[in-house]
Amino acid sequence: MKKTGLIMVIVTGILLIAGTTEFPDWADPNSPASSHVSPYYILKAIDDTAVPNVVSAVLADYRGYDTMFETAVIFAAGLACFFLLRQFNRKRAKTKMYRHVPTGIIIDIDEGGKLPEENSNFERIDSQWTPYDLIIKTTCRIIIPFIQVFALYVIIHGHHSPGGGFQGGVILGATIILFAISHDLRTTIKRLSEKMASVFSSMGVFLFAATGMLCLLLGSVYLDYSALSDLLGTDPVMARSHGILIIEIGVGLSVMAVMIWLYYNLSSAGKHNEGL
């Protein structure tokens, strides 16, 4: 079996290489890929959409419909993971473990016992060996807000520089995941519940799809942002630029929330305990 697999991989590889013999040269300005539709985007993007970053213009406007479905794919990934992994009705452990943070002493509390108060020095843990690292926790607390501000910049500045909703959303989501890794999953879920993550992820794509729908209801075709010009009080070209910003925000929101949602379910196998 392994040998047949190897033979097939080699044959496919040879075919792939054989297929490249007639490819145009590297960076050939006359190759079909750079002479058919690309010149139009490069010449017209700024006049059509008032967005200096051609990549953003193609991604969010000329081919914005693809991007909507890419966002929907990400949403579907989060939903699929939730659907497959999440366990709502599992048996809860009879005893709960708490650690007294200053001394590191672990106590077991039986069912019905008195639980420590919310902001006391006790923290809930699931296994005896749960490292506690003050330096990591404090460092992460300090850098997380800066990363988040940078993420917002990446989302907003997608018009002018590399960036946009996907990249910014991933960075935002990563900050929450960083918080979850440095602290534990329970603390994170207390701050940003699974419900919030799920609702945000559907809201983000909804913002995208609803913007398209609004264009349609205003008498144009789906995702034609220029129809929003009256609503936004700008000319149609500027309206496209604003439309792109709106959907970038939607993408950012959705991607962030899905990253978090995926992490919640993957890191705890759908149990939502202390996580990794």
Binding site: P32, D66, F69, F88, S202, A210, Y222
Partner: protein
């Protein structure tokens, strides 16, 4: 309103998925009605679009207002519109029947099931309606991803089956994407109409041939053409019945549609059928698929496994019929997309009813079913006759065109394979029907010697009504297949 049908068709189910997910955290109750409304609206839009296309010809919709090839275009002709109606109909009927199967399963996650369900349908509709080869890939992804999740929630074998499907499906999608990449490299365009204008003008065709092979290879994996079918039987038989009734009738058929679309509207028939060897190779692959699918179906002991292997054989029917390259073969292949979707839906609904009552689908537990579930059995017999190809059920007519096409093209191997598969289907289904006439064994393992009335234990009405509609349609489509062929399919076929 009517000019917006192409956009509404896809986006209404998509948007409903977000509502279902968000509202699902409050209560699981609104999920089902929202999904039902969304799919009903999709059916309405696709019927409207179909009427439009029949009246005025091709419909083109520019998303974002950009003209092709710069933006994404939806290009609807009679072929898409026909497949769209089939998809939205099958999805709606199966959703109605799925209600009772979903209730109580998935432990509180039924809103997620419905959300994935509508997203799966909107992906399939999008694949069918689009006129852009890359947009097709994106929608292929959404369909695949939701499909893996729906399959993975079945019985205890389902996660592994879903995982196998995930690996194979991803390989298939990658090949397709590679083909699209090669196409873009050679032409600089992604729009189907634009591609079909450029491809005939390209002098050296090697890159195009590779693109063609990669795209088709990807689709063959996705449609489970033998020997690339390994993922299918387990994925379809272990998935939850509510999902298999959606996925099994539609996925392979939509992939066949994509193959037809690529050959007609991207690579052009002159190029595709002009190749000296490839069409013959495809016909022989199809012949092997039909023979092997039928033989493997004979070896199975579970109803869903049998049905899954029949799907493998039926894929061979359509691929072979299409690559015959004459008008009868293609008519048969296109007609069979609709017929096979309906027949498979009918039989999977029947299997769903059996599983709902019996809790399993092993053939030996079917004893006495004819008395226990007479209505479901009646539907099963009609569905079986249609798969076998007995007039006036619809299966007969598409098989008739396929055989006629095979004789005309001189492909007697294909004709023989079709007849062989019909014969195997006769054996298969009569074996099952015979079992249902047996009396069930009593608890101590001996069969009863005197007749005792077996209590009737039918599936609930919400599962019987969709089944009845499907079964009647099997006969209805059969009776009107001449009108379908002259009214719809003749418009689609190009002159080669």
């Amino acid at each position: 309103m009517s000019e917006q049908f192409p956009a509404l068709l896809i986006t209404v189910p998509l948007i409903s998925a977000f509502f279902i997910t968000a509202l699902g955290w409050r209560s699981a109750k609104p999920a089902y009605p929202i999904a039902l409304l969304a799919l009903a609206s999709a059916l309405f839009s696709s019927m409207g679009l179909f009427g439009e296309v029949l009246k005025h010809g091709k419909v083109s919709y520019r998303l974002g207002g950009w003209p092709p090839p710069f933006g994404i275009e939806y290009a609807v002709d009679a072929l898409n519109a026909f497949v769209l109606v089939v998809i939205s109909f099958v999805a709606l009927i199966n959703l109605i029947a799925a209600k009772r199967k979903v209730d109580g399963s998935f432990s509180g996650k039924s809103p997620a099931f419905y959300a994935l369900y509508v997203m799966f349908v909107s992906g399939l509709l999008g694949i069918t309606v689009t006129g852009d080869v890359f947009n097709l890939y994106v929608l292929l992804e959404i369909t695949a991803l939701t499909g893996y999740a729906l399959i993975g929630m079945g019985d205890k074998h389902a996660p592994l089956a879903g995982f196998n499907y995930l690996i194979m499906g991803t390989i298939g999608a990658s090949f397709y994407l590679l083909g699209v990449g090669y196409l873009y490299l050679a032409t600089g365009s992604l729009n189907m109409g634009n591609l079909s204008e450029i491809i005939p003008t390209i002098q050296s065709k090697q890159t195009i041939i590779f693109a063609f092979i990669f795209c088709l290879l990807g689709l063959f994996i996705k449609m489970a053409l033998f020997p690339l079918h390994n993922w299918l039987p387990n994925a379809y038989s272990y998935s939850p019945p509510a999902a298999s009734g959606l996925i099994a009738p539609l996925t392979t058929k939509v992939m066949i549609y994509v193959m037809i679309r690529l050959v007609y509207s991207v690579f052009t028939p002159a190029f595709s059928f002009g190749h000296p060897i490839l069409p013959t190779v495809f016909i022989w692959l199809a012949i092997i698929a039909i023979v092997m699918g039928s033989l493997l179906a004979l070896a199975q002991k579970n109803l869903l496994k049998i049905l899954s292997y029949i799907i493998v054989a039926e894929v061979g029917y359509m691929v072979g019929g299409f690559w015959l390259g004459n008008s009868d073969g293609m008519t048969g292949a296109i007609l069979h997309i609709a017929n096979d979707a309906l027949m498979t839906l009918c039989l999977f609904l029947v299997a769903g009813n059996f599983i709902f009552v019996l809790k399993n689908d092993r053939l030996e537990s079917f004893k006495g079913l004819i008395h226990k579930m007479p209505l479901t059995m009646a539907a099963f017999i009609i569905g079986a006759l249609s798969i076998i190809g007995v007039p006036p059920t619809c299966g007969f007519f598409s098989k008739w065109y396929l055989i006629k096409g095979g004789i005309e093209a001189g492909q007697y191997g294909f004709v023989a394979a079709l007849l062989f598969s019909s014969l195997v289907n006769v054996i298969l289904f009569f074996k099952i029907i015979e079992i249902t006439y047996f009396e069930p064994e009593t608890k101590d393992g001996h069969s009863l010697h005197h007749h005792v009335a077996i209590p009737r234990e039918e599936a609930p009405l919400s599962m019987l009504i969709p089944l009845a509609i499907t079964t009647l349609l099997l006969i209805g489509v059969g009776l009107y297949s001449k009108e379908i062929v002259t009214g719809i399919i003749q418009h689609v076929l190009p002159t080669i």
